[in-house]
């Protein structure tokens, strides 16, 4: 059991890396979506 903290850290690190990345993608998509909608609106209004 003495090495359990290494196992736990590795487990957390793997999912932190993947979920952190997914969150960054989601936030970038939301920002771009907002910009796309704004430009579409602007082009529609002429």
């Amino acid at each position: 059991m003495s090495n359990f903290h290494f196992l736990l850290t590795a487990w957390i690190a793997v999912w932190a890396v993947f979920f952190g990345y997914e969150l960054s993608i989601a936030s970038r998509i939301a920002r771009l979506r907002e910009e796309v909608d704004r430009l579409k609106q602007q082009l529609r209004e002429g």
């Binding site: 196992l7 993947f18 430009l39």
Partner: protein
């Protein structure tokens, strides 16, 4: 998009089960005991990385042949997912190495080729950030991506070709290799879960790249319209 939620839930359930299986179902390894369980997500990370980088290689070649933007989007998306998986593999390796070998890191053939692979693909992403013109960016990064991929098979064969601190392969490693059947099943479940996560992330990353392209086109249209209306005003004034 309708199938996205059930698929995500399915992968989340698989992920939960994979974690449970790796920690509680897989048998204890004779020499390393608990710490060997890192193996299940360490190897799964590398498998996800090899899959993503192979896809990136195919996309890079396809871009150079067809010049269709979708291949460039797939190329950069796969590289990013590959880099994330490689980072997870390196971190778990370091955290396994310390209790198993007594050192965090050593410059043996396997670890060094992995680190070089990670650096090469980080360079790929930096290179893309430095080039503004889309066609040129796609072509240069595709060529660099193909060059970077040359290191991937070297990583795979490194501990077969050279004596390394990293253990010899347990899968496809010859006569003396092999896994306990339960360990093998748990590994398969973990690999499926990790691959599922990587595919979900890749789909989102591809959507992001497509959205960037759409935004660039809208900006061009907006600029074009603004330029036209300015020239109309000038002509009217004359």
């Amino acid at each position: 998009m309708k199938t996205r939620i059930p698929i995500t839930l399915l992968i989340a359930a698989l992920l939960f089960f994979a974690g449970y299986a790796a920690l509680f179902i897989a048998p204890d390894e004779a020499t390393m005991h608990q710490i060997q369980r890192i193996f299940y997500f360490h190897l799964s990370s590398w498998m996800a990385m090899f899959t993503a980088l192979s896809l990136a290689f195919i996309a890079n070649v396809a871009w150079l042949v067809t010049r269709q933007p979708k291949w460039d989007w797939l190329g950069v998306s796969s590289v990013e997912v590959g880099v994330v998986s490689c980072t997870a593999g390196l971190i778990t390796g370091v955290l396994w190495g310390r209790p198993a070998w007594g050192i965090w890191w050593t410059w043996d053939a396997r670890l060094t080729t992995c680190f070089i692979l990670w650096l090469l693909y980080i360079s790929y992403l930096i290179l893309r950030g430095l080039i503004e013109e889309p066609q040129r960016r796609a072509t240069l990064s595709a060529v660099f991506g193909i060059f970077a991929f040359l290191d991937a098979p070297l990583v795979y064969v490194s501990n077969r070709l050279w004596r390394t601190q990293h253990p010899s392969p347990v899968i496809f490693g010859g006569q003396d290799s092999g896994l306990d059947p339960t360990m093998g099943k748990v590994l398969m479940i973990c690999m499926a879960a990790m691959l599922g996560v990587a595919i979900l992330v890749l789909i989102d990353r591809y959507r992001l790249e497509r959205l960037r392209h759409e935004l660039d086109e809208l900006r061009l249209a907006a600029d074009f319209r603004a330029a036209n209306s300015n020239s109309a005003v000038t002509k009217g004034a004359l």
